[in-house]
Every structure is written in structure tokens, then in C-alpha cells.
Symmetry: D2
Subunit: 304 residues, 4 copies
């Protein structure tokens, strides 16, 4: 039987001394303050056991990892109606995400690229009474943790510098694929991305996707089929233009964020979270990618 405790601690020990740790994201000024040496791993097994190493309980900015949570709630609201406004295909293109949006008449490639997540945010702005408060409550509920909160400084920092997201939202609006005002939707979106969570909290939150839609308290939040589909989207689209590489090297549904977090899961088995703020050239956590690769290589646990 696999000794997850040893495996995770060995991986952590091996990697934490790496000289090359990637580059901390600087385009959101608040994020650039992160320490490149931070490094945590947390595993939540479906049988209830947990394993951890390093900074597994230090909160950080989850950024794009939040896109899976907003998607989950939007699917709960709209089920398959959602797919008239956003597609489920990998984007393929590293360099020109607005280009594809233009070529495809304002229908984003998938809900995990920025443009797609902005459409999802627009849906939540329409469906929620108090979008920011209600979404936070949703995350706290599936995490079974009422302490989770937004980092308002990070949200404001992104509002002041997120010109590319303003470009995407306005382009969506020009294609009539945004119902609320650009400023309203992006205010929500920047807060959503500014959620602050620990590796442990993220793992407990994503339990819902590994557990066929029921959260760690055993309360159903989405259907079995919806959970499977979200996992499929994570596998094919979760790592930008490195998604194929991640499926190939790691073989698990997952999602990364520029804050340095990565969450991956094996349905019915476990959720595994890493945090290391240094990013590789494609914007994914360098140590996190290596840790996950080593984990699946050593354990032979993957969907394939």
C-alpha cells in the first residue's frame, strides 16, 4: 500500500532546494510581493486521511483556480444552457486569446480562459442577489470553512492594472455576450480571483469534484454528471496552452493559478494541492508541476 506521507514529504524535500524556482508573477503588483521560497503540499484523501508538507496552511491568492468554483456555481444555476455562451474546447493558442474570441464571434473557447471566466462571472452577476457576498458564501459552504475571504488589496491591484481583462470584457460586450456592465462584471471577477485560501482549504473545497458533486460534508452541490464534466474541462483546459502537457505528464484533472497554486484530483480517490509562487514560462507553478509529475510517476495514480 502506498505511503502517501512519505511520498509527499520526500517530494517536498527534494524540490524545496531547487535552485531554479521560476519567477513570481509581477503583472499584478500585489502578487509580486510573494516569497519565491514558499512551498506547500496538501493531500485530502476521499477516505478522510490528509497528508501535508511545508506551507500547506499558509493562505495565498488562488487566482484562476477560482474559475472552477465560479464555473461550478454557474453550472448549478444554468446546467447546459451555459454552453450557448461559452465552448468547451481547449484554446490551443498561447499568444492570442483575444484573436480567437474575435474569430469565433465572441464565444470564448472554454470557461477556464479569462474571456470564458468573464462570461461565467457575468452569469453569476445576473443570478446572485449580492454577487460578491453570495459567491463567497458558496465557496465557504463547499469548503466547510467560514473563514475564507477575499484579499481586497489584490482585487484592487488587479482592477488598476488588468487592462487585458478590460479588453476581453469589452470585446465580449461588443459581441453581445455580456449582459451586465463591464465594470460590474470585472469588479466581481477581480474579487473572485482574489480569494485567499491555503492548500488545505483548496483541497477540501475541490473534494466536491472528486466526490461526484457532494462536498466534504456530504451535501450535494452539483450532479454526478456535472462533476464529471467539470473534471473533463479541467483535464483538457486547466493549464492554458500547457494543458496537453499536463494531461500527458501528470494525467489528472487540475487547475493552476498565477498565485502559484495548483489543484489536481483523481475522482473517487483524492485531491492534491500544491503552492509555490515561482512560475514557469507558461505561467504555471514550476515546483508545483514537478511535484505533481513526481507524485503520479511514483504512485502510478492517474486517470489513464
Amino acid at each position: 500500500m502506498l505511503d502517501f506521507n512519505t511520498i509527499i514529504n520526500n517530494i517536498h524535500n527534494n524540490l524545496k532546494h531547487n535552485v531554479v524556482k521560476g519567477v513570481v508573477a509581477s503583472y499584478i503588483p500585489e502578487l509580486s510581493k510573494q516569497d519565491v521560497n514558499s512551498f506547500g503540499i496538501f493531500m485530502q484523501h476521499m477516505d478522510g486521511r490528509t497528508f501535508q508538507a511545508g506551507d500547506a496552511e499558509v493562505p495565498f491568492s488562488i487566482q484562476s483556480i477560482s474559475k472552477v468554483l465560479s464555473l461550478s456555481k454557474a453550472i448549478a444555476f444554468e446546467d447546459n444552457n451555459l454552453w450557448t455562451r461559452v465552448d468547451v474546447e481547449p484554446s490551443g493558442n498561447p499568444f492570442n486569446h483575444l484573436s480567437l474570441l474575435e474569430l469565433e464571434n465572441g464565444i470564448p473557447r472554454n470557461p477556464l480562459i479569462n474571456a470564458g471566466a468573464i462570461v461565467v462571472a457575468d452569469i453569476l452577476c445576473s443570478q446572485f442577489k449580492n454577487p460578491k457576498e453570495d459567491f463567497l458564501q458558496y465557496v465557504r459552504d463547499i469548503a466547510n470553512d467560514q473563514t475564507i475571504t477575499y484579499n481586497y488589496k489584490v482585487a484592487e491591484s488587479e482592477r488598476l492594472t488588468g487592462f487585458n481583462n478590460f479588453a476581453a470584457a469589452n470585446l465580449l460586450k461588443s459581441f453581445d455576450n455580456l449582459n451586465n456592465d463591464v465594470d460590474v462584471v470585472l469588479d466581481f471577477y477581480f474579487h473572485q480571483c482574489a480569494l485567499e485560501m491555503t492548500c488545505a482549504q483548496i483541497a477540501k473545497t475541490f473534494y466536491v469534484f472528486a466526490n461526484s458533486g457532494k462536498c466534504i460534508n456530504n451535501i450535494p452541490h452539483i450532479t454526478v454528471s456535472q462533476a464529471k464534466r467539470i473534471n473533463a474541462i479541467m483535464l483538457t483546459c486547466g493549464f492554458y496552452d500547457e494543458s496537453g502537457e499536463f494531461a500527458f505528464e501528470v494525467g489528472l484533472p487540475g487547475k493552476s493559478g498565477v498565485g502559484g497554486g495548483i489543484v489536481a484530483l483523481l475522482p473517487n480517490h483524492f485531491v492534491l494541492t500544491t503552492w509555490a509562487p515561482g512560475l514557469n514560462a507558461k505561467g504555471n507553478s514550476l515546483l508545483g508541476m514537478q511535484a505533481l509529475e513526481q507524485f503520479t510517476t511514483q504512485t502510478n495514480l492517474s486517470v489513464f
Copy 2:
């Protein structure tokens, strides 16, 4: 010797009964109120003679024709420094102007596409003390006509619906190719495009480009070389992705606007303006294009 009066009136008479007149632009709500039957032609010869037919003295929204005027002032301010921020190549692409901007790292293809004109507007916002007032005065001066003014309703109408321009400006900002605030630059830009002029006024204004940089009052505003270069840019880039077609069929430097105006000129000979609000599929005035084509075919007057 060519009888311009007869030629212009014959062309006007032939075309005004056309059943197919194109479609009035509707994306700026205020513009959609234009009468598709409006049709004017005005010719300003360099020898002082003028010829006209139809609605040549009815003011209309000059829209993108204004891009040549803002470019002229920006070149007067910055001369060749301008070209570090915007290129002079035809855009070629009808369908994805933001795509090219992304692919080329925020350097617009040329100053006559929207993204390029927004960079030019940014320069004027930096150089002018009171951008909107000062630019209006510049146009009045080269036109030798102090009655020219903005249509504020049109400017406001575009501000409320110009999401694609907000997308472009934010994208430029994300590439660090916009020094002023997006709202400031676009406020200027929407006013610039909302200039209201008649065919006659436009012809007198563009006299400066046909006359080696000296306006109709013989005052130099730009150098000979700058005038030539602006003419070159009009010839290669003045009609969006129909620029090649216009050079091929008409053979004159020119610029169109979605208000239905077109101005074309033969250096040292004449400026010719048309206005007919119905547009063809590529966004250029349908009757105007035909009128200009007939004019150069009948007179054999072109740069080639």
C-alpha cells in the same frame, strides 16, 4: 479640356437613381438616422475652381475621415517619432483587427485603423493643452472655416456603444502603448470622429494634403515630405481591407468614414469629396465608391 462640371453632375444624376444604395451604419445609433438618399459630390481644384452636385453642402458625421486630420497634427508634433508606436503597413485583415494587435505586441498596423487612430489620439491628448478644443481649432484653421463643430450627440452615442474601441484601447494599454487613461483618450477620439462637416468643407480641409502641406490660405501646416507620406498612407490603408481594391479601381489616395463620406485627392490637381450614407459590405460608401471609380475612369486622372 475636361469639363468637370458636366462630368460630376452626370455621375451624380446616373447614380442617384440606383436602387441598391447600401445600408446606413447602425452600430452607432445616432448615425442610423441618416437618410440613405442623401448624396453629394464636391470638387476643389487646386486652381481655385470648385464643382458640386447634390447634397454637397449638407453637414454629416465625418467619422474615420477625421483620422487623417489627427494623424496630420500628430505628425506635425512628433514627425518620425510617431512610427515607434504605430506602423505604416496595410492591415490586410477584415475580420480580426485586435488579433493583429495582439500578434504584433500592441503596435497597430497603421494609423488609419481604429487601434492606430487611438494611439494617435493618445499623442494628441499628451501634446495638446485642451485636446478637444485645440484639435477643433486645428481643423477649423486648415479648413479656413470657423463654423466647423463636433456633434456631441454622436460622440455620446459612440461612447455608450463603442465597446470594440474600449477593447482596443485597453489592449493597447496592456501593451503599454497608451500613455493617458483609456477614458480620456476615447473621449477625445469619439469627439474627433463626431466632427460634422460638409463635402465642401472636407474638400477645403484636405487641400493641405494635395498642396504639399500648405492649406487653402497658403499657410504651411506640415512639410512637403509629411504631406507625401500621409498621401501614401491614405493610398495603402485608407479603405480598410478594400484599400487594395480602391487603389486598383480608383487609383487615388483617399479615406472613407462610416458616416458615408469619402475624400480622395490627386496631388497638385484636386480634392474630390462624396457623401452617400449607404455602405457596402466592407463599410465604405457604396455610391461614393462608384462615383469615384466613374470619375477616374472618365477623366483618366489618377496617380498611376
Copy 3:
């Protein structure tokens, strides 16, 4: 316990009366002769049981399904060296596969699009002594079936009309990513695609990927890790620009061909093959896609 026999036969019965069956591929003249009413399903369980319905033992042209088999052999030859010449990312783009090849300097997006499969074919042309004969023997071996053969008419038909593949191969050559002559590589490639197999034969052949690299005779052909990676590539790239949709709706690694075949598999559980020559708008078998979707919906068997 799931009654696969009933499930498969019910699906077959329900779908075979569909009025809308898609369109038989016509761009390879020989393929256009297929009967749109052909419809077979075959399931090879890892426990040895087999289930089938309809035309499960009628041979058809496997076309792009062969790309997985050539990839498998190329990986056996080159292991990870292969990935310097072809990437593993989904292509994303339906409409312009050569465009991406140009933009990315002759490195195909993945080995399951045509350009990528042509690079793989080039590798086999270099590695095999008698490429066509040796590759056929490889397929016969992993299928445990010496009767499998090429359809030479189909191969010749494609040679005479496959201009797009000649374009791709020449473009690869211009980027120095093809070592053998274009004609040599494409002759091999057209034969590879012209392999003729039944649903049953394909299922037995793909057993190797569901069984961690050991074929149905329990002989290892590739390593566990190589088998996982091939499954990952099938999941992310197996259905052209419908790959995300397939992962989302079906949730299994798989591959389609324009002959109307689809193969899908759940590692350690089963291989499932369908054949119905009518294609949907994206070039995948219309009934086959529906059959697989119904199968995973009814059985809840997917990697997610």
C-alpha cells in the same frame, strides 16, 4: 452488475433507425462508396468477454485511427526524443491547421493531426527497414491477427487527391522537419491510413493501450508510462476540434477516423469500437459519437 450485452444492443437498436446519419466522407473518392446505413459496435472487456451489435465484423477503412498505432510504434522506437519534433497540445483550430504549423515553425501541435502524423510517419520511414511491410506486421502482432491488410485502392485514391497532405508534408520539409522525401513519407502515410479492419479487430488492437502496454497476447509492446501518455494524447487530441466536446460528453480516451470508425477505451476495463460512416460537421462519426455518449451516460463508466 452492468449487462453490457443488453446496453450495447439497445443503443444499437435505438440509433440504427435515426433519420439523420451524417454524411459519408467524399474527399477520398473510394470512401464515398461506403453505405451510410452500416453500423457496428464491439466491446472488448479486459476480463476477456466481448459484446457486439450490428456490423461489428465488417472491415472498413480505419483512416486516422491508424495514427495512434503509428504513434505507438514511433514512441517504442524513440521514446521522448519524439517530442522535439511534435508537440502534445490540442490544436484548437478547426479551420487552419497549416496556419498553426507556420506560426509554430513547423512543429505540429500534436501527433494526431495530419501534420503531426506525417512527422510520425517520417520517423517510421527512417526506423523501419521495409516501412509498409514492417508497420503492417506490427499492427498484426498487437492485434494478434495476421489477416489484417491495406486497401490499396483507398491508398491510391488518397494519393491522387490528398493535396492538403502534400501541402502539409512540403511545409514540414521547408521547416526541416521531414527527413525522408515527401513522396516516400506520404506513400507510407496513405497506406497506413488505408488499413482495413473491423470493429472487433480494432478493439483487440487497442487492448494494448487499455492494458498498460501489453497486447491481448500479454506481450509488452510499450511501457506502462508510454501507454498512459498515448491515452492522454487521445483524450486531449483524438477528435480534432471536437476533442474537448468528446472529453466533456463521453469522458474516455479515443480516436476517430473519417471512414466512420471510433475507438474509445477505459484503462484497465474495456475497449469499445463503433463504426458508422456518416460524419457530423466536424468529421466524426455521427452515430458513433451518440453511441459512445449513451454508453457512458448509462454505465457511468468514464475516466472522470
Copy 4:
């Protein structure tokens, strides 16, 4: 009055000592043998005078300059029917000419990019009885010089290495925009590009375009209107993605070739040819571009 003799010799003297001379094209092995120090200028005035400096009578490979000559003959054959198979818009894109061809369904952007010139070559292969012989005779006739010939080594060198042209021709064929066999059309095309001429010969040949369609012997070969249109196409499309720059800096219709030749003309005034084999980053003769820019700056002679 302008002293062309002094102007041209001064320009030649100034530039011939330039340290930076660009890079001789190497992708066609035969061309790489050219001496980077070769440099000639020739001017044919419409009044009969000629002026020259340096290697103006040394033959070189005219390469893409030939595209204007084949276009001229195709227009003479087909007039405006030609434009159903090729467009007249600038290509705009440096990096992906096949991409545009794909996006635009096999209709090349204009007849001066390779794909467009291959369509033109296809037309000549259909219209001429003995394409290579008849085309050579056409060129000799408009040049009034029976000594012009193909360099067969260059043609063969390109046939062996011109994979990108084979890609383009096959892509055109896949879109049904090539009537003859790829090998037949490209054999013609490679010979056409391998025409060997001196600066003097090219200037005398292009006299036909500066003289409203009548060659230097006063024989009409194309109509006035056809000559004007060819000049328009040269101005907007003659220098690849540097066409806007050339119009902007030089302001004359013209065409360059990778052999280092450039021809430019002012209708009704003169034809000016330069040859210097070193190319700039965009594939146009470095000294040639500078010589033409200096010439129009000093003389103020341009279409603008």
C-alpha cells in the same frame, strides 16, 4: 532641371562603400553565390534618355520581379476574369502566407505573393501552347531584346529546395484553384523566376507599365487601364510586408526580387532599376531600398 546623371552617380558612390550591405539570399543555393558587392543602377527616361551607374549591365536572377511580367500577360489573356481566382489586397502578414490562403479558401491575397503568382502561372500554363518558350518570347518582345534567357541552374536549384512553393501549390490545388498539375505549374514558375536580366533590360521591359501599356517599341501589349491597375498592385503589394513602408518612403510603384533587384517607376516619366544582392530583414535589397529612397527624396519625384 534635374541632373539625373549626377544624382544617380552620387547615390551609387555614397552607398557602395556602406559596411552594412545586407545578406545574400541563401535559400536558393544557386543565388547564394552572388557577390554582395555587386551594385548597379539604371534609369530609363520616357524621353529616351538613359542614365546608369555601376553594375547596370550585369545579368542577375530577377526572381519575383518576374511576377509583374507574368501578371501582365495573364491580364492580357483574361482581363478582369483573373480576379475571381486572386484578390488585389495587400497581404499584410509577414509570417504566415499559407495561413491567409487557408483562411480565405484558397484565394491568394494578391498576384505578387507566391501563392498568387502560382495561380497566375497556372493561367499561363493553360493559355500558352508552349508555356516556357512562349513566356520567354513575351518578355523578349516587350523588352525589345532577343538575348534574354532563363538560368536553368537556378530553376533547377529552386525545384530541388522550393518546398514552401510546393506546399502553396498543393494547398491551392486542394481548394480547386489550380487547373494544371502541381509539377507542371511549378516547373513553369521556377523558370519564370529564373529569368536572368540586367538593370538596363529590366528598365526597358517595365517601360510598358510607365507608358500606358505600350512597350519601348511603341507596340501596345496591354490597355491603359490594365497598365494603371498593374501599377496600383505594385504600389500596394510589391514589397511583401514592407509595401506600406516602400509607398511611404519612396512613393513609387515597384517590385523587388530576392536576387537583389528592384524596379520602380513613375508613370509617364521614368523607370528606375537597382541591383544589390544583399537583402534586409524583410527580403528586399538593402542598398536598393536606400538608393530609391534617396532618389525620390532628392528629386521630389513620386506619385504623391
